[in-house]
Amino acid sequence: MRALVALLLLVVSAAPGWAAGPLTYNLKPVAIAPDTWVFEGTREHFTRINGGNILNPGFIVTDAGVIVIQTGPSRRFGEEMRAAIATVTDKPIRKVFISNLHPDYWLGNRAFADVPIAALPGTIEGIKTEGPGMTENMYRLVGDWMRGTEPLVPTETVYGSTVVFGAHRLRLIPLEGHTAADLAILDETTGVLFAGGVVFSDRTPTTPHADIGKWLAALDALDALEVTVLVPNHGRIGSDKAAIAQTRDWLSWLDRTLRERAEAGADMAELLDAPIPERFAGMGVLREEYRRSVSHLWPGIEKAVLPRVN
């Protein structure tokens, strides 16, 4: 019996994120351009250690108030963001923009319930239908970090346009491919591009709602912009467009490889451990995201190589 109790104690104390004391993301705003800050996330998948902190949300301080871009994976994250913003400026929050429906972009919305939260129509639709399920799954993946988090659907619809806050002209660029609706925001005043979900940097792209063809077209559209600082929503922030090239390289390789293997008769299960070229080795969560992508993309690709036989 004593051995049993000891075993149970061991099991309980070994569970990550339980006995670690109060959870905190310890968010530190990093200045990347005039009036512009980013909270840099890890280049990992959601875990009980990182609490879902894998995104690069940011904010722009304007004379008309603070513009927040993404609210993070949990209510706690949103609250910590708001507290950290208050250490930089005493201006009120004016508006929040959400770039797509994935849970790490908007589950912090509850902390910004008193201000307009804006997103593309497709993003709002997606959050309405898939939000509750995604929220539940986040509780499963990161656990107690999610306490008190409930979906809050964005309250304002935006379209492609240019909006002005104080001295900052923000170009809202509607794209698609990573999801059915991806919002990129170019601050024309500083040249900072908040690329949204379509650009990843040293972090393997995620494809649960992807259309690769449209995604590649979206990358071309961003490549044509004048940019001084590129903020990918996951991964390293850079002063060049290397992240766009890397994302394009990965998506092209992935799509081509799956098609070639399907044509050669491979089964989906055989793709799980297929070799990945060395040049992608530096990207975070490589094998795991690759396997997820096989799950997302293979069924469609497979259908295209199997002819009707009755």
Binding site: L7, E136, L272, D273, E302, L306, R308, V309
Partner: protein, 266 residues
């Protein structure tokens, strides 16, 4: 995961085994269902846990409605029957497979209801079941979610449609790889208001009607299920036939060409 495993191990250790034959080796996956499934699936036949039976599947089910899995028992030599099962699914058995003139290897996709051990058992001619497997983590719900099929108004017109293809033999065993998809909702009967409706049997035959591979398929197979097999048709066969039926009497019939065969024997 660690906690679940430990809890399962504790439960397994505290409960008395149902199976009354000679003592079995300990279940390496420490499944709480093993003592129930063991007599149900294998009766009193001897079992052994055997790394020569490999199960390839992701560690985590990205889509609980279609988890890819490949079971391979070729390292055992001759195999008479294989069973693919997920211990904690509401219907544990995914399929049974007789590789009559086929390699003991099969791949498909299935629905998963919760994190579970996933296993393949292969019976050798001496009557011993060799069992391999792995743990599969999952958010779950795959068996109780309605299929996407019914979103299309004309779904019934397409049930039983087959897409398939065979690839020229490679390697010493001269096995022909065959892949096919069958349009079918594969309802488990666990979704309120949707009765069980699934393919029960599929047989892949040589040109002369001889069965090469027989499948007994079950509820957990994914909607519009897909299969990969490696069969050994007679030399000169120009096509294979696939036939089968679902539990409501619907038939599946298709012919899969072997386009590299010229038809004339050397």
């Amino acid at each position: 995961m660690n906690r679940h495993l430990a809890a399962a191990a504790l439960l397994a250790a505290l409960s008395s085994p149902v199976y009354a034959g000679p003592p079995d080796p300990a279940d390496p996956l420490a499944s709480v269902m093993w003592d129930v499934l063991r007599p149900e699936l294998f009766g009193t036949a001897p079992v052994q846990f055997d790394d020569r039976v490999t199960v390839t599947a992701p560690d985590n089910a990205e889509n609980a409605a279609a988890v890819p899995v490949m079971a391979d028992a070729t390292a055992l030599g001759a195999v008479e029957e294989m069973v693919l099962f997920a211990d904690l699914n509401p219907f544990p058995v995914i399929l049974r497979f007789q590789p009559l003139a086929a390699k003991p290897v099969i791949a498909t996709r299935f629905k998963v209801q919760q994190a579970t051990p996933l296993r393949a058992a292969a019976r050798t001619p001496d009557g011993v079941w060799h069992i391999g497997g792995k743990l599969l983590d999952a958010a779950g719900g795959g068996c109780t979610a309605p299929p996407a099929t019914y979103a299309a108004a004309d779904w019934a017109d397409h049930v039983g449609e087959v897409q398939g293809r065979a690839w020229a033999p490679t390697g010493e065993d001269k096995a022909t790889r065959v892949r096919f998809l069958v349009r079918h909702p594969m309802d488990t009967g666990l979704v309120a208001g949707i009765p069980a409706y699934f393919i029960e049997a599929l047989t892949l035959r040589d040109a002369d009607g001889r069965a090469l591979a027989r499948l007994q398929t079950a509820e957990p197979l994914s909607e519009n299920p897909g299969f990969t097999l490696e069969v050994q048709p007679a030399a000169g066969a120009r096509s294979l036939t696939l036939d089968g039926r679902d539990n409501q009497g619907g038939e599946v019939k298709a012919a899969i060409p072997l386009p590299w065969v010229q038809g004339a024997l050397p």
